[in-house]
Symmetry: D3
Subunit: 208 residues, 6 copies
């Protein structure tokens, strides 16, 4: 055995200490534009590359009869630097994931249960909509407004995946009505009626 | 002179034919994910690197008392592949560039006349707003909803620049109310009132 | 209606002709390092952004009791330039996707049925292995050898997704034994026994 | 209000703590190849996204009758990771920004006052020169030598923007004559006369 | 001299403190997906940009009659963030660098002594092989299995360079037979004979 | 054999037609920002991945006693899209590669014969110089002015490699004195003496 190690060290004069094929996030370190600092390779185990947080069906007893459970780098540190992340969509009957965008990633949706109507709007104001069934895919180009909604009466499940470990998620209604965006400014920049804005803020928790 | 050329060819055995430091777009060619094919270097002149389309003040006698004049790769082919583009904002008194996002770029705004109130909303539903005067800058991270509006009573001018030659531009009101996005689907995915949606569609030209 | 269009053209002096948020592949055009040329935006429909080729369970009556069905840009042109693709793995009882790598992408595996044992080997010759159940994820960093195999006696299904529209797929056994890689060179560069190499070539169809 | 928060948390099981759409530089942290570490999102305010350092006309009573005022990541930390920065050029009568290059970025120049003659030299030793007026743009591809000079007798102002938050700035005369580059080596690698080199060093402060 | 500095500071109001054209690795800092944090610019010297570790011919008295000496970022911190690294291959008579891949980089091989037969296998299972002499180059696209072997009876030397400061190196035999990859799993995922696997593990030091 | 193909097609339902791990340049096609279009994979052979143009020592009987022989994508199409290229430097006694920069790439220099003094100047006007011997490396960060010169009395050879298939090459003296850059403008933007400029133009072939 001693001889083998000796042979190896002769053959390949490389210090493994600084060789990493991956960069599991140390979430306690400061984020950078390319992602989090890496955990020391010596502390990385197989557990770092797997994630169990999307197994369970989420509770959809809420205002949208739907839920989004993310597996972004904040939840699944093994994704750091690898340009990929995922989420789980649970859609009850009449469920809807409201109009939203991912500022930092394109999305590829994989439907695994039920039927889902999904669509996006392009910069040219064209709407692309499809109703998808189990096993079908749909892609939403980066940064564009899109939605998913239950088609039919049964619940549906899908796994969206993203071209970034940290895709971001801007939900239109939350940006407008669950924020401190002032009602006059929203009215001015969207042409929506202030009365309506205030009403939606009261439902979604916005101020201003 | 003959000798010089001889010396140069001895010194540097490089065929200039395939050496390009730039790639002025041939807009008649097919776009690719990295941009348009390049014009032959031999046909490129200084004109290709300059653009005069933002000199004139745009007419702001319209519904928003404002105008956006782009200098993207489609208008200014010299930008192709260089990761930069620009536009001109003209804001009349009470003018507003409604809530919008650029799916493919961050934006840096340079105010050159008047006062402008600008802001964006983050994925965490935080609103960042500033009133800017001549010479001030504001940056809007990629893909997030943002707006610009005249502050004060005088007209304002600004030059936004973008981190892509083709940043895209999705205007929220146009995506919703100047498209063929069906009213029931908009209502379902935004919680907006169908009556309001139809009213805004009638103003902005939407169908469905 | 005329007035609306007039207002829009006043407001936004942009030629939509060259604005694309996406670049659906024209597979008849020549590929480039960034992907295929784009179909004209005017011919793009919602169909271009959806894909149905992964719906069906693949036949696994073969040597590995398993099948890989890709949805790369060659099959799903809407992915072009978006940095994402997918595939479907069908694993029969005792099925195995043999050791392989994706030269151009990291992989995120989503298990949707059954149990799968999966693993990869790092540059430091460490093996990271996990047994995953329905709803669990595992990530395989770019370019590293990895495998998936049925765990338990029931069939399994998973959807791997990739950080490129064209991730590539190099299957170790095929690279060695289904190619024209000469037996002496394989023996020399892998230390495998020539007799064994020839036997595996006869099974997998290799020459040389 | 309690109910709203409850609904939101049901709907979107995401920890905002690690979600950032931006990465405002913590300039006290160590720079990385992708930029500085991010300030904690909780301490970020609208002030971080705006910059006032380019408002004032710079003093041009100097050797070049001109001044460059940068708004790079070191001055404007909100630009970190966003692939954009800017500067202000003040050019007095007969002012000139001497031949220089930006090693890490392309430049797009926006003229906002007066007339400016600008140009760059390509790898093929072709010179592209234009005289620009207020509102005109010119682009300088990455890494190439270029200059700006006042055209006409009145002062001029322009805002160059860059395709990186940290574009770098190598001024030819400073590289040669304000550095410790030894006179014999400069002479050897540029064919310039040592007497001239020493004279320019005495003006610009070089040593060696 | 005082006046010069005054003139410079008037001319160019830039703080050099945060301006770096390079990012020499501080290997004691935590790696990130884009590389290591930068050493302070004030401590960087010419030594940081040069490397002497590839001067010496390596000992090739080992199992493969060959040696790989890397100059990756871990050995040569000046490469950090610059997208380049190198190594030295010493090949004795009958030497071979066994089948391997670089998960994070393409490779360009420069032969500087002797003759080398090199080749790679593509995803389409095509083998591309060339015998190279002194001064010849060969490129191995990212992530694909490739090898180098002495051609002829004399020793050979080559310098491979890589498109990343940290290209990784996965040697097939080491991944399989010098790791803790269990014999039954290797057999299952490669179709290799368990007896052979155990034999190779005993030579190369693998366990499991 | 028929059965094998049948098994393979069952196992892996992938069309190889659009799968490429590489993109050998079709130099007759139009360049794009990411490189040239790809040759059809079916016409690619091992020859495409090798290059013999750097074998021969170049003639250095010229004004600089040196020669640069490039192996960029224009000469070596197999490099297209792979982020790497190379060149050969031949330096006679007293040879010098004059001050130059590569606008699109960092450079790593490998000395293979003789002694070379090399250096670069940073944006902070610091000069980093080293004298290198056979087997030593030096890195020149992207876009910065640098030079190489023979050290000692014997000829030297080196292979610079670049982080782009098309790094560009801007030689300072050629940009100024072998171009049509007008003498008054050069004088204005460099502070060089017009008489000297004209003298150097007469040697190097410049006009204007």
């Amino acid at each position: 055995m001693f001889q083998i190690i000796f042979l190896l060290s002769l053959f390949l004069s490389i210090s493994n200490a600084s060789v990493q094929d991956f960069c599991v996030a140390d979430l306690k370190g400061s984020d950078t534009p390319s992602g989090f600092p890496c955990k020391p390779a010596t502390t990385v185990t197989a557990e770092d590359f797997a994630y169990s947080g999307l197994i369970e069906e989420a509770n959809v007893t809420n205002i949208i009869n739907a839920a989004v459970t993310p597996a972004f780098v904040g939840q699944f540190p093994g994704l750091n630097g690898l340009g990929l992340s995922a989420a789980r969509l649970d859609l009850g009957p009449a469920g809807v994931i409201p109009l939203h965008s991912h500022p930092g990633a394109s999305e590829l949706l994989i439907v695994t249960q039920g039927h889902i109507t999904a669509g996006f709007v392009s910069s040219a104001n064209t709407v692309y909509i499809k109703t998808l069934k189990r096993g079908e895919l749909m892609v939403f180009p980066q940064g564009l407004l899109h939605f998913q909604a239950t088609a039919g009466k049964r619940k549906a499940v899908a796994f969206p995946v993203f071209s970034s470990a940290n895709p971001g998620l801007q939900i239109l209604d939350f940006a407008l009505f669950a924020s401190n965006f002032s009602t006059p400014l929203i009215a001015k920049t969207t042409f929506l009626d202030p009365v309506l804005i205030k009403k939606l803020k009261s439902v979604l928790g916005g101020s201003g």
